[in-house]
């Protein structure tokens, strides 16, 4: 009983902390505002056109198999060779915003024959996908190169207005 209650409280807390659960993409031209998760940081303005150019129209660099381009990862090819284009290629359609919610954990533990058992959450895949590539291709890699820290973030990281008083040298800086 108490476990169930705890789970509910936990879920409520996660929802309360997380940003508004509206559509993850606010399409404006071909620049997406990735802001569904913004909390400690502002959202990211993502120039889709520029990335299409940078990847030379190879959607699979970012989209696995979901955009119609066949996957290249040998591990994915095993099952997804002929998967074709998905109804929606959006990251958030498969990678949930709250991977640690009681419902999602329950689904993970209790779905028989679930192959993608440790599917990373939306925040993780954004960072893994973008940052992983940026590190290799020389794109921006500092936290604040892509999104500015919010007031809540400054409080969380004890920085900016909330930096420890006595000991100087606490200027926030971007990170690789």
């Amino acid at each position: 009983m108490s476990l169930k209650k705890g789970k509910t409280i936990g879920l409520a807390a996660i929802i309360a902390i997380a940003a508004p659960l509206s559509l993850p993409f606010t399409v404006s031209g071909e620049v997406f505002e990735l802001n569904s998760l913004s909390s400690l940081y502002e959202g990211v303005s993502f120039d889709h056109d520029m990335h299409i150019e940078a990847t030379e129209d190879n959607c699979t660099v970012c989209h696995h198999h979901t955009a119609g381009t066949p996957p290249e990862e040998p591990d994915c090819v095993r099952c997804h060779r002929n998967s074709g284009e998905a109804d929606s290629p959006k990251c958030s359609d498969c990678h949930v915003a709250e991977p640690f919610s009681a419902a999602n954990l329950d689904r993970q533990y209790n779905t028989p024959n679930l192959y993608h058992t440790a599917k990373p959450g939306l925040k993780a895949v954004y960072h893994l996908n973008c940052l992983g590539c940026h590190q290799e291709t020389g794109g921006p890699t500092g936290c604040q190169d892509c999104h500015t820290m919010t007031d809540k973030g400054e409080k969380f990281y004890n920085t900016g207005h909330y930096a420890p008083k006595e000991k100087p040298g606490g200027q926030s800086s971007g990170h690789h």
Binding site: S2, L3, G6, K7, I9, G10, D75, P99, F100, A102, L105, Q108, Y109, T117, A118, P120, G121, K123, A124, V125, H127, L128, L131, Q135, C143, M149, F156, Y157, N158, T159, G160, A163, P164, K167, G169, G170, Q171, S172, S173, H175, H176
Partner: protein, 308 residues
């Protein structure tokens, strides 16, 4: 008055000693034969060290979740990675930080490797077995927690821990106690939720789940990318298994992990010896009092007869 029969006394004491020795030995055998091995459904965390970028968000999350004191420097100050303790050792956990991230420059690796350090929550914790006031508990959920009200601040657990995890509240002169990561048991784990650091990580470095599932996942991950990962799941076997486990693309000994700990829980190294202690305490006083009486009785009798 009945005189002590020397022969009967020796016979009796020898028989008693042998019985005690035999029972002691039997106890040892059964204990060594079956180790505890951890709760079957305990939770764990699998850390993929290849993914960590050293953003220190986990440190900040831990600080807030556990209500720890304000840090000396902001959590987005990355110069802390250049801080070293005496002997060039990297940062370790303190009373004000139950987890720290350290940076390792690895030769031949394009980027430095970052490693999060916190309590590994052993299946058979050395801290727990070493604690003489029983302050520690290994919960069925997998966390190694402790009761600070019981802790007397003896710091035996700090010496017992093979990972040097427990820290000490040196700043508290009145009632210093041991401080360490409790896997967010109070606020999260007991309700089925992952520790705060796991949830805060922007890179999904840590996977939360049942320990036995995580072991499968770890081996599967290594199998899928054998060129990337080192074929070793650190924590699967070490010191009897730990709730926190690690996979890496760099040999573990190069990034500060002790790879010589062996698969036996620390307890096994002292169990045999400790089993003898009660035997010694019970038999030796009786035995040597007996010897003493035998050795002095004669003189006492002699004195008595001289007087008579």
């Amino acid at each position: 008055m009945k005189k002590i029969d020397r022969r009967n006394f020796i016979k009796g004491s020898l028989a008693g000693g042998l019985t005690a020795a035999a029972t002691g030995k039997a106890k040892n055998a059964s204990a060594a034969g079956g180790t505890f091995g951890g709760y079957p459904d305990s939770m764990g965390v699998l850390v993929d060290l290849t993914k960590c970028i050293g953003c220190r968000t986990c440190e900040a999350a831990c600080n807030k979740e556990q209500g720890l004191p304000e840090p000396d420097r902001p959590f987005d100050d990355y110069s802390v990675f250049d801080e070293h303790r005496h002997g060039g050792l990297p940062r370790r956990t303190t009373e004000g930080a139950y987890t720290v991230v350290n940076k390792y420059e690895v030769e031949g690796r394009e980027h430095p490797l970052f490693r999060k350090f916190q309590c590994n929550h052993c299946n058979e914790p050395a801290c727990l077995t070493s604690c003489f006031v029983n302050a520690y508990t290994k919960t069925p959920e997998g966390a190694v927690i402790y009761n600070p009200k019981v802790c007397v601040g003896c710091r035996t657990c700090m010496i017992a821990c093979p990972f040097y995890v427990p820290a000490y509240s040196y700043s508290s002169p009145i009632n210093p106690v041991v401080k360490k990561c409790i896997m967010c048991y109070d606020t999260r784990l007991q309700f089925g939720r992952p520790p705060a650091c796991v949830e805060a990580c922007p890179q999904g470095v840590m996977t939360f789940g049942k320990r036995k599932d995580l072991i499968d996942l770890a081996h599967e991950t290594i199998e899928n990318k054998p060129d990337k990962y080192v074929d070793h799941v650190y924590g699967e076997k070490e010191v009897g298994g730990t709730s926190w486990m690690y996979i890496s693309d760099v040999p573990f000994e190069e990034i500060g992990f002790d790879t010589h700990l062996g698969p036996d829980p620390i307890l096994n190294y002292v169990k045999d010896f400790l089993a003898i202690v009660p035997m010694v305490l019970c038999i030796w006083p009786a035995l040597f009092t007996g010897f003493h009486l035998l050795a002095t009785r004669k003189n006492a009798n002699k004195d008595d007869s001289n007087k008579a």
